[in-house]
Chain length 332, copies 2
DNA sequence: TGTTGACATGCAACCGGTTGCACGGTATGG
DNA sequence: CCATACCGTGCAACCGGTTGCATGTCAACA
């Protein structure tokens, strides 16, 4: 028979303090409208009674939930946590709370999640969205959306452009004498993958190198290991992977076949997530994911403020190639 | 002049469908009470009008928000994302949404966050809480709380017990002939750190080894690097670190001083987060963080269901020492 | 001293669902 | 053919804040 220590409502505070409910409400939301002493009195009573604001009630009458949703393809992919963190911190500073959900690399699940969150949040930040463009447009009409690493007209977005860094990597490989290289591609539908592949392809064409595109199942360590056979039999002497996880999977597998990186094979990763930790340390593309999360959050917030949404703003973030120890001469 | 395509309410659905508001509500919540054809009719109209349930309104009248909060000390610490992910997935399967927040290793911030979430969620999962016990008890009286890696009476909790694995590591070091080893401790207030330190200490005492406790600033790579001087001058030949990040920081710093692991120094990490990726691969303690997240979520849910909270259930998860390549003979 | 206005507070409607209860209609059983 | 039960639906109160407007008080000013 646990005495349910239910939290009191403003009515109970009002009664105890001998004022109207509206005054209690104002004591918290617009204290400047009240006599200072009244505010103090009300706050004191509220404190004594252990008052906790009922957010649902406030949200219902104001129409603002004070929440946003942050959807990512895979929480456990080390690429995302720094972004999640910075976005959450930025939101918190503006008194917003953030829902986090993982759509498991699936566009369908993404849609389901948006629908579920639609009634609970004021806006949604979508990372590496897999949804078809028209669906995205449809949702964007109903609820403020900001995209990260997805380029859709008229929807605000922040893009991390690894193009120039990847070209630099290609050039590095070419300088060492590599003539045939592979790109271990990531999720084919993503903007990120398309953009990375296009940049690499552009430069290999220009330099007259042969580029072999090898798809991977998922941007994970295991998928990297799984494509090594195909990669080796393609005859390439170096490779650029969609991300560090794939690159590391390849290194692991090569190592188990007694093929040393970089002496027997050169490899470049992307995202600079686990690359400082690999053996040997992986040359990789570093990108400002922390900054991206913060900016995405700020974009959503600015979207909430304005009525005539000046849609379509874009922010492009640059990247940096971090040279470590996984590029060497081609092995004949 | 963007025509605000406001989402309709049940009243508008009701009017359009020629039924009462209550029927619309029931069409979604308890369709078995209505004539099947009525349900279909209502759902059709709702679909046409693009109806979206207003969660705040529902929450206000039912008293259930359908949300929980998940608070972690540091989202970017690779130990947590798998736990976050599994908890979120588990919650989602029960139609719950999860708020994520980072309390930045601070007990104060933790309190602020709980207070902020209190009115928005039905329960809180607290990972590695830094709050004083009495505050925790206080909150637990107001809102269902489940702890992970914190041991407080009468509050449900899941504990990951690395004790036996760490003892195994000590034994391994002793077997190699190490007589003086260090423990690079983590956040001193955490249960996890106390428990790890106690286990190690217990066995070194038993075996007659000298144990040097060296505190670190934060469980991060940089903090690991920073304590190497102190560690070396203490005269130990091997060390166990609170987590992989610290261990890796130490390895990096040793490496820059031309001290090779494991030939010049032996080291063991904990959490098995980045240990497979380090150079050389780090011997570390693997723990079921994924399982922990899921269980914590299930505990919260069971707490919500019952009235007379059978508080204080505990679940202890075991760990496993993964031997890799960072333990060798002591260097004289 | 009467008028005006600023300030402090109360009243009551409203936000959008949910739900106990009442009501009318139809089927069932005696 | 009537009594009873059940089924489908509507009515209206309620959840707990917020807010436009009305009211009352008091000081300043003419």
């Amino acid at each position: 028979m646990s005495s349910k220590s239910k939290v009191p409502t403003i009515s109970q505070i009002a009664e105890r303090a001998g004022v109207a409910r509206s005054s209690v409400s104002r004591a918290f939301t617009r204290p400047e409208l009240l006599n200072a002493s009244t505010v103090i009195k009300i706050r004191k009573v509220a404190e004594e009674l252990g008052y906790v604001l009922n957010s649902s009630a406030r949200a219902l009458s104001t129409g603002k939930t004070g929440n946003i949703a942050f959807l990512v393809p895979d929480v456990a992919n080390p690429y995302f946590p720094p972004m999640i963190r910075s976005a959450q911190l930025a939101a918190e500073n503006l008194d917003y709370c953030v829902f986090l959900a993982d759509f498991e690399e699936s566009g369908l699940k993404e849609e389901k999640l948006i629908e579920r969150f639609a009634g609970k949040v004021e806006g949604v930040i979508l990372i590496s969205s897999r949804m078809p463009e028209e669906r995205l447009q449809g949702f964007a009409e109903k609820i403020p959306i900001v995209l990260v690493n997805r380029d859709v007209q008229r929807i605000p977005r922040v893009l991390i452009d690894a193009g120039s860094s990847l070209k630099q990597a290609v050039r590095l490989l070419a300088d060492q004498g590599h003539e045939e290289i592979a790109y271990l591609s990531g999720p084919s539908v993503t903007w990120t993958n398309k953009q990375r592949q296009a940049s690499i392809s552009e430069l290999t064409n220009e330099l007259g190198l042969r580029l072999v595109i090898i798809p991977t199942e998922k941007p994970s360590l295991e998928s990297g290991q799984a494509v090594v056979d195909k990669m080796i039999s393609s005859g390439v002497t170096g490779a650029i992977a969609f991300n560090d996880l794939i690159a590391h999977g390849i290194m692991t597998e090569l190592n188990s076949r007694a093929l040393k990186v970089p002496n027997s094979f050169s490899i470049v990763g992307c995202d600079n997530s686990i690359s400082p930790y690999t053996n040997p340390p992986l040359t990789s593309v570093s990108n400002e994911t922390t900054e991206a999360g913060k900016i995405a959050c700020e974009m959503i917030m600015s979207l909430l403020g304005e009525t005539n949404s000046k849609n379509g703003q874009i922010k492009v973030l640059k990247t940096l190639l971090i040279e470590r120890e996984t590029i060497g001469l081609p092995y004949k």
